[in-house]
């Protein structure tokens, strides 16, 4: 059924203007040729895009962010796929409680998680800050991996696995050759969603900075506190482009229904 109420359509348009307008404004003002960020921009220049690549801290923190998000993603997959498989495949006691434990990192306020991790990972466990960052991001990504892989497995017919097993394939072999290929797109989508979650993370990273170690979002926060030139706007445009590409891939892989389900 179509809802053709004009007023409602106009209201929706205005709300979308509110949602997307600021992102358009940030994009346009990144082309400002002057040294002060303003909207509308007074001309057209790409100098601030050039500047990003000249500021060492941006390049360095970008690399750290990439490394932490990718490596942490790998760890989260190694821990998360077996757990998601066990939780989906076998009936056992206390399953709901365990599921809740695995999803709990999203329930705990990020800033609390970050603070307690600083206290323990860095101070009590004496981990190097870089390792702490990696562990923290793995914890943050784990629930996303588990949730998406679980929902992929929910659509997988385990009878196929049983068939492979009864034909004499080993458990591991069956998993890698039968189960995994069937949930491949779900796993890639899980990787991308978790990547975005980690790459944009502030709450954990803000506590895990030290001499020479920081992530891009934290570097951006620090920069904004001191300067108001269009560099951050230029970085924002690049980040939005990255987000758009990843979102497109996620949509291709499993549609956008993941986001509407709670």
């Amino acid at each position: 059924m179509q809802e053709n109420n004009r007023g409602l359509g106009l209201f929706t348009l205005l709300v979308y203007l509110f949602l997307l307008g600021p992102l358009v404004i940030i994009a346009l003002s990144s082309f400002e040729p002057g040294t002060v960020l303003k909207f509308p921009p007074t001309g057209f220049s790409l100098r601030w895009y050039q500047k990003i690549f000249e500021v060492e801290m941006f390049m360095k923190t970008f690399k750290t962010s990439m490394a932490v998000s990718l490596l942490g993603n790998l760890f989260a997959l190694l821990l998360g796929i077996p757990a998601a498989y066990a939780l989906s495949r076998f009936p056992f006691k206390g399953k709901d409680a365990l599921n809740a434990v695995f999803l709990s990192p999203v329930l705990i306020p990020g800033i609390v998680l970050g603070f307690t991790m600083l206290k323990f990972l860095i101070v009590t466990y004496h981990l190097p800050i870089y390792t702490g960052l990696l562990v923290g991001h793995t914890v943050v990504m784990l629930p996303f991996i588990i949730r998406v892989v679980e929902s992929s497995l929910a659509n997988f017919d385990f009878a196929v696995e049983e068939a492979a097993l009864s034909l004499g394939a080993g458990r591991l072999q069956t998993f890698f050759r039968v189960v995994l290929p069937n949930i491949k797109s779900g796993i890639i989508a899980a990787v991308l969603i978790a990547f975005l979650e980690s790459f944009n993370n502030v709450d954990i990273s803000v506590f895990m900075t030290g001499p020479g170690v920081s992530t891009l979002p934290i570097q951006m926060l620090t920069y904004v506190e001191n300067y108001f030139d269009p560099t951050i706007a230029a970085i924002s445009v690049l980040l939005m482009a990255l987000t758009a590409v990843l979102m497109f891939v996620i949509e291709r892989l499993m549609g956008l229904s993941y986001f509407t389900k709670r």
Partner: protein, 272 residues
């Protein structure tokens, strides 16, 4: 069978236990102990401190207003989206999900350009002759609320769309054919059936606003909320005991909100 399950679950469980559960449990526990004895002193100190109470009050106020604004703006939009054809629906959903996946630093920063003293909004209002002097919007609770509504509105929209698109359109047709006006069909059919989504969406927005760090840090200026206060105590003041107490209070409020809202959801819909 049991052994197999354990082998698969154990690495993840140990990891979460060592790096999340233990740090949190010990942090919370440490706030109740002083010189080896049980104490509530830390909490008495905070709840007796008008400065902290004001921060707590501001946080709750900002979160509540943000949640209400998100409902008021998001509900009609979600209804509109859920009643569009497939292609339009996908497009509108994608346009709501995109900001959700975009960095909160980017999104909060965009409001600094708009709300600043020489920002777009002040310039526009002055050009229109509506105000003479630029208004102070940035670095006020109002700026935080605007930033947080912007941050969380997509969340409530997509949650509600997820619930509303499962409402059988024939129900509305039935209501209308039985003589209900369009609005009363909406009010008596759509609204009650959307309540579960509304509750989940409200929890996400309220708890999200309560614990958000980036937006208050960028748009709130000197005005602290509980998350920026926690950060200040932990990092700037290096007062880890106070930071631990604040962290515990934050978690207690978060879990209380979730529990209360779940209870409301169960009362309204006993069959779950």
């Amino acid at each position: 069978m049991k052994k197999k399950v354990l082998v698969l679950l154990l690495p993840g469980l140990l990891f979460l236990t060592a790096f999340m559960l233990v740090p949190i449990v010990i942090t919370v526990g440490s706030t109740f102990v002083h010189d080896g004895a049980f104490t509530l002193e830390g909490y008495m100190h905070f709840f007796g401190d008008t400065f902290f109470l004001k921060i707590l009050f501001t946080t709750l106020e900002v979160s509540l207003v943000t949640t209400l604004m998100c409902i008021v703006l998001g509900f009609p939009v979600a209804y509109y989206i859920s009643r569009r054809g497939r292609r339009q629906k996908s497009l509108l959903l994608a346009l709501a999900i995109f900001p959700l996946l975009t960095s909160s630093v980017v999104r909060s920063f965009s409001w600094m350009i708009i709300l600043g003293k020489k920002g777009l909004l002040n310039n526009a209002l002055i050009a229109l002759g509506l105000i003479k002097e630029p208004m102070d919007i940035l670095y006020t609770p109002a700026a935080m609320m605007i930033g947080l509504v912007h941050l969380f509105l997509p969340l409530i929209i997509i949650t509600l769309v997820g619930v509303m698109e499962n409402i059988d359109p024939d129900l509305i047709k039935a209501a209308e054919s039985l003589g209900a006006s369009r609005f009363s069909a909406f009010r008596k059919v759509i609204v009650p059936l959307s309540v579960p989504g509304l509750i989940i969406g409200s929890i996400l927005v309220f708890v999200g606003s309560l614990t958000a760090y980036t937006t208050p840090a960028l748009l709130g200026g000197k005005q602290k909320v509980i998350s920026t206060f926690l950060y200040q105590n932990a990092i700037t003041l290096n007062d880890w005991y106070s930071a631990s107490v604040i962290a515990t209070i934050m978690m207690a409020i978060t879990f209380a909100v979730i529990a209360i809202m779940n209870k409301i959801a169960n009362t309204l819909n006993p069959k779950g």
